[in-house]
């Protein structure tokens, strides 16, 4: 039996003596750390460290330097998941209610690259559901979103395209993606993205949303597979129209269904079952 074990401390490989206790290592390496994360979960009790463990010590309220930050953020990403999604590229067509929330969710879990396209600017009427701020009114949505994503997770590569997507430019803008997300508002534009993307990249999955307006029960929004490469989120029937507006809670439910479907697809899991 070896006298040492290999662990990762703040994502850096380390060799430590076998039998080392978790809290003893904390006291030796970061005295005063009040959050101990072991293998992606907070550790409330001391234990003997095992070969392959992934450990991070955090002092609450301390803003780490940039070099440390990604490692500390990664500490809460589930081991095995983060390594896969860090390599992934996701395309998002539309940076409105769906697109801005999907982008933030994917950035928080440490996606590798986002490609976001939208031609519009932030307006006051967007603030009821879209992930922007008052001082961003008038900015192009892709610019405002990149600004916000950089504040959340600066280690996500973000390619923005300030343009109107058309059947002609969809293949060029989204050619590099592993998973595509439709996040438009207009019904005809939703269909346009599906047609353009699926014809250009028939083997790549696309996650679409339709039927998310109003304040119907959250559980009427579901994720279902439609064919081999299309995943559809929503209740499929509730359109945005006078009397049935788009509101943050239900748009957010749908957006996070889409984000979770993306995550499951990237991990090779069935988004519906």
């Amino acid at each position: 039996m070896s006298d040492t074990i290999q662990i990762k401390l703040s994502e850096r490989p380390e060799e430590i003596p076998a039998g080392t206790m978790l809290f003893a290592l904390r006291d030796a390496r970061k005295p005063g750390a009040d959050v101990v994360v072991r293998n992606g979960a907070p550790a409330g009790e001391d234990c003997e460290l095992q070969d392959g463990d992934d450990v991070v010590f955090i002092t609450r309220g301390e803003i780490p330097d940039r070099d440390q930050l990604e490692n500390l953020m990664a500490a809460r990403h589930t081991p095995g998941v983060h390594a896969k999604i860090k390599q992934a590229t996701v395309g998002i067509a539309g940076a409105g209610g769906l697109g801005s929330a999907i982008a933030i969710a994917l950035a928080r879990i440490g996606i590798g690259r986002l490609i976001v396209a939208d031609f519009d600017v932030v307006e006051p009427s967007n603030l009821n559901r879209q992930q922007f701020f008052i001082d961003q009114i008038g900015l192009p949505k892709v610019e405002a979103l990149k600004e916000n994503l950089d504040r959340i997770n600066p280690y996500v590569a973000i390619d923005t395209h300030l343009l109107k997507l058309t059947p002609a430019n969809v293949p060029e803008v989204f050619g590099a993606v592993d998973v595509m997300v439709e996040a438009f508002d207009r019904a005809d534009q939703k269909a346009m993205i599906v047609e353009s993307f699926c014809r250009a990249f028939p083997a790549k999955p696309i996650v679409v949303a339709t039927g998310l307006a109003g304040h119907m029960p959250s559980n009427t929004v579901v994720t279902r597979k439609v064919g081999k490469s299309m995943v559809v989120v929503g209740d499929l029937v509730t359109a945005a129209q006078p009397g049935t507006g788009l509101m943050a809670p239900r748009v957010g439910v749908a957006a996070h269904h889409q984000a979770n479907a993306v995550l499951r697809l990237l991990l090779g899991e069935d988004p519906e079952q």
């Binding site: 539309g94 339709t210 307006a213 439609v226 029937v237």
Partner: protein, 92 residues
């Protein structure tokens, strides 16, 4: 010959069926199939699919064997094909 027609959203509610087998003649197009079944399911069903000129609406997501059909170019169906129709609706 027969094809399978899968319906989603409001079309499914109006037809009260998720999936059906439709018998078609040779050289039948996707539009022909949908116009034919519209005759069975009524004006509301047809008006979701087609505009006043009888053209498939741009918001229809129509897949033939998982591939989106080109609405500007008639597509002929073949025996054993699966035609999937999902109306996209506004909101995002």
């Amino acid at each position: 010959m027969d094809i399978t027609l899968k319906l989603f959203g409001q079309l499914r509610h109006l037809a009260d069926q998720e999936e059906m087998i439709v018998g078609v003649e040779d050289d039948t197009t996707v539009e022909d199939v949908l116009m034919e079944v519209s005759a069975d399911f009524g004006d509301d069903f047809r008006n979701i699919l087609f505009d006043e000129k009888g053209m498939l609406r741009p918001s229809m997501m129509v897949l033939l064997n998982d591939t989106p059909v080109d609405k500007s170019d008639p597509t002929i169906v073949d025996d054993g094909d699966t035609l999937t129709v999902l109306p996209a609706i506004a909101g995002g």
